[in-house]
Symmetry: C2
Subunit: 433 residues, 2 copies
């Protein structure tokens, strides 16, 4: 058995025995929750704490029910822009501004070396999409063998990758629903597209679906968390919430159950592009179908017409999705739909996604009080016109200070109102009365 060679017991197995591992202890402390309660949530699969047994020095993060909303930052080269130093800088900046996890989506250059270098530069949970590498190492995507696919998963697991996106819900069933759909943009998931191309060309089902138990064995050996990929995600709001997407969710719900049975932590990825009035139903139906698997969302983007501002469009969707139960939000950058992001766009994307996550936390069961305390502190600092304290509490202190200093007031107030500051006027009027 593979298990004998690596991990004796996964974190999920341990939690099921009621053991409070160091990861559970640490996450419980960070989240303000009792370790025993967290262990139960991990045992049930409602919270995941991605952590490869080979990964040393990781700062674990809890993703799921009652946890604060987490954010992921995607980094990585493209086929045409390959610069390891820049990618390392992206990791550094993402971590500095509050990312909770890093995913390496590289598709260009020496992929093994890039992955290892990036992992060496962060203590955050680290994720990959192994199918990218399997596809890139062939002259044509369709020439991958199923062995290539599983071998890449194993290689990444051996390297210590904590969580992997695997599009196991792209199968003959969901593909049939896609063919019968009326989408404008059929598939925009890169991993999904590779697998669909492969399935059609080779006339076979997706190996990750067909041999899902084998996949789980590999993941279990290293205690890798599976992130069940959103291969059928809509690419525009017109295509949202259709039959192909719901079909994939049903499959992902079944696969979640199988992963849990095997003691492998699983989360589920969701769209993508969703109109604002469908975000609630989208999130709640996914949570229901997957029996409350931690939900990892890409956005959702609630309009298609704002290229250059998709980080903001994603923050609108992400905050609302978080309010309804999304647990893990993937950063969107201003470059989305336009180009490979540079370091500045990673910074902007992380900060803005962090704002959306905090907004969600202020209304989320389990996190509401803790999150609102920050807002309360800021309100008190504003009442006192205590600028230093306001900067301390700001999500991005540097930017707040820069704007304030850019147009300073001679008074204690800001340059919007100066000596006619409403806060001061009413404070003195009420005290006199």
């Amino acid at each position: 058995m593979a298990i004998e060679r690596g991990c004796k017991m996964t974190l999920m197995d341990e939690a099921r025995k009621g053991r409070i591992t160091p990861e559970i202890e640490r996450v419980a402390r960070d989240e303000g929750i009792k370790p025993e309660k967290l262990a139960r949530l991990v045992a049930e699969g409602k919270v995941v704490i991605p952590r490869n047994v080979r990964r040393e020095d990781i700062v674990p993060r809890g993703i799921g029910k009652f946890m604060s909303t987490k954010i992921n930052a995607n980094v990585g080269t493209s086929r045409e822009y390959i610069c390891i130093e820049e990618e390392i800088e992206k990791v550094r900046v993402a971590e500095k501004y509050g990312a909770d996890a890093i995913m390496d989506l590289s598709t260009g250059g020496d992929l093994d070396r890039i992955r290892k270098e990036l992992m060496n530069h962060t203590k955050l949970p680290f994720g990959t999409v192994p199918i990218y590498q399997s596809a890139m190492e062939k002259d044509a995507v369709v020439n991958m063998t199923s062995d290539d696919m599983f071998n890449t998963v194993r290689k990444h697991a051996e390297d210590g990758v904590d969580f992997m996106t695997i599009h196991a819900g792209v199968n003959l069933n969901s593909l049939e629903r896609l063919k019968n759909s009326e989408r404008i943009l059929d598939v925009v998931s890169r991993g999904g597209a590779f697998l669909i191309g492969w399935m059609i060309h080779n006339g076979e089902d997706n190996p990750f679906y067909r041999e899902f138990d084998y996949l789980l064995e590999i993941l279990k050996e290293y205690d890798v968390t599976i992130s069940l990929g959103d291969g059928m995600r809509p690419g525009c709001i017109n295509d949202a919430s259709d039959r192909a997407k719901f079909m994939e969710f049903i499959i992902l719900g079944e696969l979640t159950r199988r992963a849990r049975e095997a003691g492998v932590q699983a989360m589920v990825e969701g769209p993508g592009h969703v109109p604002l009035d469908e975000v609630e139903i989208s999130v709640t139906s996914m949570k229901k179908i997957t029996d409350e698997a931690p939900l990892y969302l890409l956005g959702p983007l609630v309009t298609d017409i704002a290229p250059g501002y998709d980080h903001i469009v994603g923050a609108i969707g992400g905050a609302v999705a978080g309010m309804h139960g999304a647990d893990f939000i993937c950063m969107v950058t201003p470059s989305e739909h336009l180009a490979l992001p540079g370091v500045d766009h990673i910074r902007e994307g992380v900060i803005i996604t962090k704002i959306a996550a905090h907004v969600a936390d202020t209304v989320k069961e389990g996190q509401r009080e803790r999150a609102r305390e920050l807002d309360r502190q800021m309100a008190i600092a504003r009442k006192e016109l205590n600028w230093e304290r306001q900067f301390e509490l700001a999500i991005d202190r540097e930017r707040a200070e820069e704007i304030w200093h850019g147009r300073k007031s001679r008074t204690k107030a800001c340059s919007m109102c100066g000596d006619i500051c409403a806060i001061q006027l009413v404070k003195s009027a009420l005290n006199k009365s």
Copy 2:
């Protein structure tokens, strides 16, 4: 009677007679609604079309039920930063990037001259807050007389101002509720603070409330739309949706009815700072209490801890508020809570508020189909990798092009994926199958 000297019939009066005025005709065309239906909505006060009889050359905008979500840009000097050229440039930029109305909130310099200059530079509906000028022209705010207040309203009306914010809901009743409240930040509305300071010092009720009929006479003479100000708006999410705020809304609901009876168009202003899960109840209760008066929101801001990014915080709140029925959203800039905004921040604020308004329109009764058609066109342009068309459809073409050109791909696709573009892969796979 004042009416004899100026406007014979207000737009509302005309609409009640079923007359299709040029303003109604123009707005109906812009909004894709039948002029007769729009005239009924104006007659009922569910849509306002601000337009002073003295204002020439205005491009009218409809605000309210079944209309697209409109956005306002605030400009104006402060006590310490006074530069007319900069304010004119702000008006130009706001109009260029899609503002539907301009408000001059100047509190520093020659206020009459600034107002006239700014109005000369735009054809958009133009609004003011007359109490600012009344207060600034005295050595101390509390020394204003009620004549000063009404005279400023008249002066602005004579100058052609189309809509005015008047905090008539700040009265002895709502002030009592404020005193009994447990707010951190009592009052953050500048106009509200002036009036509360004045009421407490002079031991009298707010003249705008006490002599509301006289106020309506002046407004009616020039057919000015009243924007019933949000003087009790909460200044942090901790203070949201409290008794003082609801008390003011009740008063504003009553005053809306009186304005409608007098044939004066009225809209109602709302908060402010509101936690995300209270936005729906906040908007729907306001709509109910005011019998569907057009609702003009400042934000709402859904967290307090992101100074420097309040435009984004406001976009999250604004999109959700719009989904639930907000009609008119005031732009928030990155400078909010920190400084008087410069031209660049006006630009950023307008664009991002425009995105929120569009997101609202994609889910709003009456605008949904028209708004979504833009998203559909963008999706088609993306499928075809037609970049020129994508830029054409983008809310901010310049920024989208800049990012795309910054990291161009050698391929037809973008530099994120290049030759492994999902859209292209699946298009060719599905066509072959």
